[in-house]
């Protein structure tokens, strides 16, 4: 241990107690990466915070010793957001896992950031309520991590993302001070700092208390499956459902490769088709009945095969099981895989999927497609074999080219996994120098010393080499026919 680090460690123990400080290399290794396991860094110290004051103390120490800090929830992030900084402190929020208040009359729940996403729903389910954002990792991931990533789930198509369900935050600022944003009321004045903080990936401060909106469980839910002879066909069905004015709570598509892998893994009873569309509807029973009729009509008109309607909760769970197991299932048919996360305007789905097919051919690597079709959020899984020299590099290039295709189609670099370290160098694909410079101004307002989670989100020369990839003007934009965001 370096001298400065020893002093820091002693100061941390003095301020927070021995049981809150981890400094043994073996134990520090537990924190060396998040869900992006390819990149690892051992931090100088890990602090296991158990209160807001603890977090403030830890952050003040970072200021005194001039070292950075990285907040950490459950470490399920997929973009390297919780990757430690070598000489810095990791502040783990997992011990802050108490549900502080359940206010049913207000339909609000107040929690510490280390509470898992699913625990919120479990705490209110008995009263007929649930917490809407449902990332697939919900059994493990924390509300603090959800806030930092603005996480969504299959049902965010109808109900929105974390940002639409958080009404208040206590934030420990990078200087150690505490700021409260929002309240149980949705009325606030001034710029929407609550909304600005959510999705900032731990770079603006640490959330130590979160107030969430809970919703009544819908009376009626209907889940449907339909097979199509092409992914385009399934995509057309999605567009038609939307055009019919039906606001489904989820619409998911799996292609043949994914479908077969999922079926082999969990035996969901899926039909053998080129593309499978899963649609879920919820609301009052009349509404669901009527919408189900409309969706079935659309399926029929488009010649869908194997249309099924779940008749019980058990059957619905079965429909979802394969979808939820899709990533892991592809992991069983391929030694390694990389999950890409890109977004395209829904209308561009067919074109971009075709492009992904071409790229897959070009690079000679299979790509499985499973995606949140309703909101154009693609999760192409690039399958490769790390034991074959050059395969990993090929997979990375292919994944990057898929992103380029998404951005060129008017989409975005990430729909839910965040930028983190993984995509920091891709930011210039979507944002100009000025765009990034203005984001950096916001960061300076919160964190003038760059102490909170440095090296994430922004492309830096250290991370990306001297010349970060060029920002490409879209041809339409060049011609003045379309604007970029």
């Amino acid at each position: 241990m370096k001298r400065g680090e020893r002093e820091l460690c002693e100061a941390a123990v003095a301020a927070l107690g021995r049981e809150a400080v981890i400094s043994e290399l073996e134990q520090l290794r537990t924190y060396e990466c998040d869900g992006l396991t390819g990149t690892r860094v051992v931090p100088a110290l890990v602090i296991l915070a158990n209160s807001t004051q603890h977090v403030q103390e830890a952050v003040r120490l970072c200021n005194t010793y001039d070292v950075p800090f990285v907040a950490r929830g459950a470490g399920t992030g997929l973009s390297g957001g919780a990757l430690p900084v070598a000489d810095g402190i990791v502040i783990s929020l997992q011990r802050m896992n108490r549900i502080l208040e359940i206010d049913l009359e207000s339909e609000r729940v107040v929690v510490e950031p280390g509470v898992t996403n699913l625990a919120v729903t479990q705490a209110v389910a008995g009263h007929g309520y649930y917490y809407a954002p449902d990332p697939s990792s919900q059994q493990v991931c924390t509300i603090g991590g959800n806030v930092a990533e603005n996480s969504g789930g299959a049902h965010c198509l109808k109900y929105g993302f974390t940002v639409n369900h958080v009404t208040a935050l206590d934030v420990v600022m990078p200087d150690g001070s505490l700021v409260q944003l929002g309240g149980k009321s949705l009325h606030t004045s001034g710029p929407d700092l609550l909304g600005t903080f959510i999705g900032s990936e731990g770079t603006l401060g640490i959330a130590t208390q979160v107030t969430l909106r809970i919703l009544r469980k819908p009376d009626s839910v209907c889940t449907l499956l339909a097979g199509f002879d092409s992914v385009d066909g399934a995509g057309e069905a999605v567009s038609d459902v939307i055009a019919a004015g039906v606001l489904a709570s989820a619409m998911e598509i799996m292609d043949r490769l994914t479908l077969e892998a999922a079926e082999a893994a969990v035996s969901a009873g899926y039909p053998a088709v080129e593309a499978l569309l899963l649609v879920e509807l919820d609301g009052t029973s009349d509404q669901v009945e009527e919408e189900t009729e409309r969706v079935l009509e659309i399926f029929k008109r488009l010649g869908a095969s194997e249309v099924r309607v779940a008749k019980s909760d058990a059957e619905r769970a079965l429909f979802w099981r394969g979808r939820k197991a899709a990533f892991a299932a592809l992991g069983r048919v391929s030694p390694n895989y990389y999950v890409q996360d890109g977004v395209v305007p829904r209308s561009k789905l067919p074109a971009v999927l075709r492009r992904i097919g071409e790229l897959s051919e070009e690079h000679g690597l299979p790509v499985g497609n499973v995606f949140h079709a309703g909101d154009g959020n693609l999760h192409p899984l690039v399958l490769y074999d790390a034991s074959i020299p050059g395969d990993l590099a090929k997979a990375e290039r292919l994944a990057e080219e898929i992103l380029v295709a998404c951005v060129e189609a008017g989409g975005a670099l990430t729909g839910e996994h965040g930028i983190g370290t993984d995509k920091a160098c891709s930011m210039p694909l979507m944002f100009s120098k000025d765009d990034l410079a203005v984001m950096a101004r916001l960061r300076r307002a919160f964190d003038p010393d760059g102490r909170a989670n440095p090296g994430k989100l922004f492309p830096t020369p250290r991370l990306c080499g001297e010349v970060p990839g060029p920002y490409r003007e879209h041809p339409l934009e060049k011609a003045g026919r379309a604007e970029r965001f």
Partner: protein
Amino acid sequence: MQNVSERVEPRSAEDASLALREAGNAGMSVSLDRPGGEVVLSTARLNRVLEHEATDLTCVVEPGIRLSELDAVLARHEQRLVLDPPGDPTVGECIAQAMSGPRRHRFGAVRDLILGVTVVLADGTIASSGGKVVKNVAGYDLAKLFCGAQGTLGLVVRAAFRLHPRPETTSTFAVELVRPRDARPLLTGLSTLNLPLGALDLLWPGRLIGLVEGSARVAQAQLDAAAQALGARHVDNDIWERSSERQLQAAGVMAFAPSDLGEVLQSEPMALIRPSLGVAYVERPIDSPQSPGLIHLEERIREQFDPGRVLVG
């Protein structure tokens, strides 16, 4: 004596950028879409619908367009931007003042519907954030930052929004409510029915009104359910105009935890209340002091975005 201010009406982001730089260089203050600055930058000519992708349920517009004008365009495809603040403001005003109306109950406020912005800062920098897709977590969400910023951080020159389908029918029910102690049981009863209402306003004292949107059959079923369980009566949709007027004429806005509704009813002789949001539009000015930490943070953001204090709030 009042100085005559210069009015500039840019037609593009570049025009606006130039105007802001010139004003800054000349040491003149600028107000955005309102009086107050030596230069008034108006979005009157930045009022186009740039894109309406009906299949994607999204649109991209300039800030000077009024909600009614935008609605007419979206209606061609049976769609709508579900923002219903009183007084037909422009999209830019909605963003700057974080406006909302009764349908916030179900659809959220501007900050929930906005997908991306392009802004021009006081020093002329043109920058974008977000995008035009409904799901996107790349980079900071400056669109949210500009919601409620009152034009102190820069001029929004373009904004993308998420749209919703127009409902086939719209109808309204009303339930009598005059005693504060009846409010909680009524709201609990309504909540138990679990109706996906488009809006829920309390015209206090008097009645609770609910907006039912959907197909004729589905809407009727909801009206029936409310009638049976709560004695709700079907009333004319015009009643929402009363709600709009009250919101517009309110002297103050009160924020409260929805569970504290009872206390609000005790203290306010008259108000327009959105019970699920915890917002009451009341007849007296409300002083809601901000914490020093928050004031300090907002100051630092202004310092970064407009260090020369060219923009007047």
